[in-house]
């Protein structure tokens, strides 16, 4: 068992009654990471979904416990659910979205330099992983959640999350090494 880790020891405990301040702080502190998480999950219109996530947080903030840390866990739980819903909806009804070259992993680089830079991006690295590996890395690195919080969101045990994280890191390293070798 891994010793208890505090994901963000700098965050003090906030007054649970001050919901307005907590909500404002949560939005201005966590909205960039939520936006990045949703973007990495391939959700369309990340800004709109980010706002939807925080509106959902607002409706539940009355029962929130744990201050900003609890709000962070709840926000990414909602964001995870939105991403899952988005992909399920996309499987049922394929949506037509405008093409964004920087987000398209199938883009053919025009030059060798583009090839070297384009294949080493964070999104490209994540796209080379499986869904579970990508999810655990996003929740641990981008969302800055603990093992327990990640396990709660993904619906797995803490041991499974640790194993999944270890394998995700190995896969990430192997893909990065493979791409570095292929680029050179």
């Amino acid at each position: 068992m891994e010793p208890h880790e505090d994901p963000n020891p700098e965050i003090p405990t906030m007054d649970p009654g001050d919901h307005a301040e907590l909500f404002t702080t949560a939005f201005r502190t966590l909205s960039p990471s939520v936006h990045g998480y949703l973007r990495a999950r391939g959700v369309d219109d990340c800004e709109a979904v980010t706002q939807d996530v925080f509106l959902s947080l607002y409706s539940r903030i009355g029962s929130l416990r744990g201050g900003l840390d609890g709000a962070k866990a709840l926000v990414f739980t909602i964001a995870h659910s939105r991403a899952v819903d988005h992909h399920r909806r996309r499987q049922r009804t394929p949506a037509l979205v405008p093409h964004e070259p920087e987000l398209d992993p199938r883009a053919t680089p025009a030059t060798t330099e583009d090839l070297a830079l384009g294949t080493t991006g964070a999104l490209n690295l994540l796209n080379s992983l499986t869904d579970d590996h990508r999810e655990v890395l996003l929740l641990r690195v981008v969302a800055d959640l603990s093992i327990d919080q990640t396990a709660d969101i993904m619906g797995r045990s803490t041991g499974a999350i640790k194993q999944l994280q270890r394998r995700a890191l190995e896969a990430l390293r192997s893909h990065a090494a493979t791409r570095e070798l292929s680029a050179s």
Binding site: E2, I11, M14, D18, A20, T24, R28, T29, A122, D144
Partner: protein, 269 residues
């Protein structure tokens, strides 16, 4: 991976996050994974998300110290003073409605403005309708004349004169002609009667039931209403009512001849 060196891990929090993820990883593997995770970490530092109108209404103003604009989570509770509470509560509770934490004093303070709103709307609506009605009435000449008559009648009542005085020039116009037409007919018939009954001097000696029998045949048709009343000329209707006077009944005896009132317009010569 030279481009990864361009991304400086200057945020101490990012370094802590990466260290926590690499806790169980061997040091050799951690060194190779650290720049990759640092690049992944850049996804958490994207551009600020602009709140929409609905979300912006829920947020506190931008200049608050607890806004977290500096990115330091530790400043979250810096502005939790009493002054901040007074500014924070309305933003949430106006949207939540009457929540359990809303003070009753604030509810009472907010209610008069809501109550005055329908009253002000009703006053404005009434004033608009009144102005429109007044304009339409001022344009109608008949209304103005009726209004003038009404005012003059009110003024006459207040001044002690009869209320119908202003209307006398128009309404009793037929009355003088009726009275003047009836009087010459009654005078000859009544003049013939005293010759027939010279002995009946007193009015009390001729009771009402006997009146029709003693009346001359020429005046028989015009005796019914006033004859039942005893034929008292003083109880005749006022000429001001404008009703033509019927011919006076012929009463046996020495009744004085009725004379037309002196106040009749266009009176007899």
């Amino acid at each position: 991976m030279n481009h990864l060196n361009d991304h400086e891990i200057d945020d101490h929090n990012d370094q802590k996050v990466i260290d926590q993820v690499l806790t169980d990883v061997d040091p050799d593997g951690a060194d190779s994974l650290r720049p990759l995770l640092a690049e992944l970490r850049t996804l958490a530092h994207g551009g600020p998300v602009e709140p929409g109108p609905l979300l912006e209404a829920l947020l506190l103003p931008e200049d608050r110290p607890a806004a977290g604009a500096s990115g330091a989570p530790g400043s979250a509770s810096a502005g939790s003073g009493a002054d901040d509470d007074t500014r924070a509560v309305p933003v949430l509770q106006v949207l939540e409605g009457d929540g359990p934490r809303r003070p009753a004093r604030r509810r009472r303070a907010a209610q008069p403005a809501r109550r005055r709103r329908p009253l002000a709307a009703a006053l404005v609506l009434t004033a608009a309708i009144g102005a429109g009605t007044a304009a339409a009435a001022a344009a109608d000449e008949g209304f103005r004349s009726a209004l003038g008559d009404g005012i003059s009648s009110v003024m006459s009542v207040l001044g002690g004169r009869p209320a119908s005085a202003p209307s006398t020039p128009t309404s009793p116009a037929p009355a003088p002609t009726g009275a003047s037409a009836a009087t010459p007919q009654s005078v000859p018939s009544s003049a013939a009667v005293p010759n027939a009954k010279p002995s009946s001097g007193a009015r009390a000696a001729s009771p009402a039931p006997t009146g029709p029998r003693t009346t001359a045949p020429g005046a028989e048709a015009s005796t019914s209403p006033e004859a039942g009343l005893g034929g008292v000329p003083s109880q005749l209707p006022s000429p001001n009512l404008g009703i033509p006077l019927p011919p006076l009944p012929t009463v046996p005896g020495s009744l004085p001849q009725p004379t037309a009132p002196a106040g009749l317009p266009g009176g007899l010569p």
